[in-house]
Amino acid sequence: MSKIEEVKAKVEAGKSKLVPGLVQEALDAGNNPQDILDAMVESMGVVGEKFSTGEIFVPEMLIAAKAMSKGVDVLKPHLAGDGSSKLGTCIIGTVAGDLHDIGKNLVSLMIESAGFDMVDLGVDVPADTFVQAIKDNDNVKIVACSGLLTSTMPALKEAVATIKASGLTGFKVIVGGAPVTPEYATEIGADGFAPDAGTAAVKAKELAIA
């Protein structure tokens, strides 16, 4: 097994104590840093898919994301340019009135692992704050808004409408959360919908490179 293959396998298995050393060994063996990063992103794609299909659960996803993050720490000084993501920036938050951050945090982890720079606005984010964050950050490609409760679905609708009415362009809006359906996402004008964290990463990537 090549060093890069080893890195991939250990990221997928969530071996956060082993991955930094393996990444260093892969670098020492002369592998291109970008290739090592791409391999880790690919691993997280597999992790996301397994989560979406119910093959693995939240702990497995969390430790894999942590392993990748430890590997990226080793890799960062060796990456070309300023180290910023080639997929762009993703702004994420739960909509006004919604304080449920666990699902949003998982989605943030997985989108970051897919290769985005994340700007996490936290919970209970007013619609205007999403707009301001798009203005304040470079290369925003995705805005991800979530709402866990039926009672905060109107706030999700308002967030999407406000972002779309801002006149700002160059990004796509994705939505999610327990009560949100693909039909509702379309109805409120979102560009994408994801039912879980693994799918959210796939959808974000798909929309960013479209």
């Binding site: 659960f57 702990p59 497995e60 430790i63 009135g97 409760l149 039926t150 009672s151 009560p179 879980d196």
Partner: protein, 325 residues
């Protein structure tokens, strides 16, 4: 006409109930017991474990705060230093209201039901955040086992006092084990960490006069049902429609009863109408049938977040009982 208690037993034992068990009607919930501080609307409190909860105005519930300043357990390997269980209340004064309530219940009609929350899994993430708790199951399993044992010992100490005072017939025990789409942990991990804990807890209750264990988890949990049966749960309350409840009844009904199948999210919201409540309640009753099933909002207590929804569901279930039995 059967009493509420008799009708419940006929339903969960596959006998001849004369009507649907109507939501929480069989449980006379003793909420006055000194279980520890619980946050109310508009409040921020610190409970006996040092966990800070906040319930902002306009929200449907409270949350533990897990920023660096508030997280009780910052490093799982240091749990022995950082987690200190509160003392169990043992004074007559603290238990007086609960005892008076329990003594006033007609036990032929209803179950004197002790309410216990949060559960063991919930306590792990209340202490250190969901992310830290779930990762610790992998990264520091021995410490997690030891912490869980410590939490179990605390609950058993509380249970001993509570049973001596209230002599409950039923325990209504919260512990959310999943989201609406999946369990939080795999069945294997659940078996390793939480089945032994709940075998001790529910085994203790059953060995000390409790007849009925009702466990609340308003979530998906199909993959955990064998474990629920193994630990002695008689009724899983909060079962969501994402579990395909009719299929669960078919497969496991003789071993465990399912209470719920009316998801609060689709009926309990500001724009609810009697027609919406009737539609989903009727669907649940017709699809799940008369045995091993209790129609109920998936909410973890006997009320709704928006006034009138719970009562409307009760009225619909009464009507359906007349039509279907």
């Amino acid at each position: 006409m059967l009493t509420k208690r008799q009708n419940l037993l006929e339903t969960i034992k596959g006998g001849n109930p004369d009507r649907f068990v109507n939501q929480y009607e069989f449980m006379n919930l003793i909420m006055e017991a000194p279980l520890g501080a619980m946050v109310g609307p508009g409040q921020t409190i610190k409970n006996g474990w040092g966990i800070t909860f906040t319930w902002p105005e306009g929200q449907l519930g409270g949350f533990p705060i897990h920023d660096d300043a508030h997280k009780v357990l910052k490093d799982i390997t240091m749990w022995r230093e950082q987690v200190k269980a509160p003392a169990v209340e043992t004074s007559d004064e603290a238990w007086a209201a609960a005892v008076a309530h329990a003594n006033a219940v007609d036990r032929n009609e209803e179950y004197v039901t002790a309410f216990v929350a949060p559960g063991i899994f919930e306590m792990t993430h209340h202490l250190m955040s969901m992310e830290d708790a779930l990762m610790a199951l992998y990264e520091e399993p021995e410490d997690m086992h030891d912490l869980i044992d410590y939490l179990v010992d605390y609950e058993l100490a509380y249970a001993k006092e509570m049973i001596a005072r209230l002599h409950p017939d039923c325990i209504f025990h919260h512990d959310d084990w999943g989201s609406q789409r999946s369990s939080f942990v795999s069945p294997e991990m659940f078996e390793e960490f939480f089945v032994p804990a709940y075998k001790k807890i529910y085994g203790y209750y059953k060995a000390n006069g409790v007849e009925l264990i009702v466990h609340h988890s308003d979530s998906y949990g199909v993959n955990l049902v064998p474990s629920m049966i193994e630990v002695g749960i008689d009724i899983w309350q909060g079962v969501m429609t994402t579990n395909n409840v009719p299929e669960l009844i078919e497969k496991y009904g003789k071993q465990i009863t399912f209470m719920g199948d009316i998801d609060t999210g689709v009926v309990d919201f500001p724009g609810w109408t009697p027609e919406i409540v009737a539609e989903y309640t009727q669907k649940a009753c017709e699809e799940c049938g008369k045995l091993y099933f209790i129609p109920n909002l998936t909410q973890g207590l006997n009320f709704s977040s928006f006034p009138g929804v719970y009562e409307e569901a009760t009225a619909v279930i009464d009507r359906l009982s007349k039509e279907m039995f």
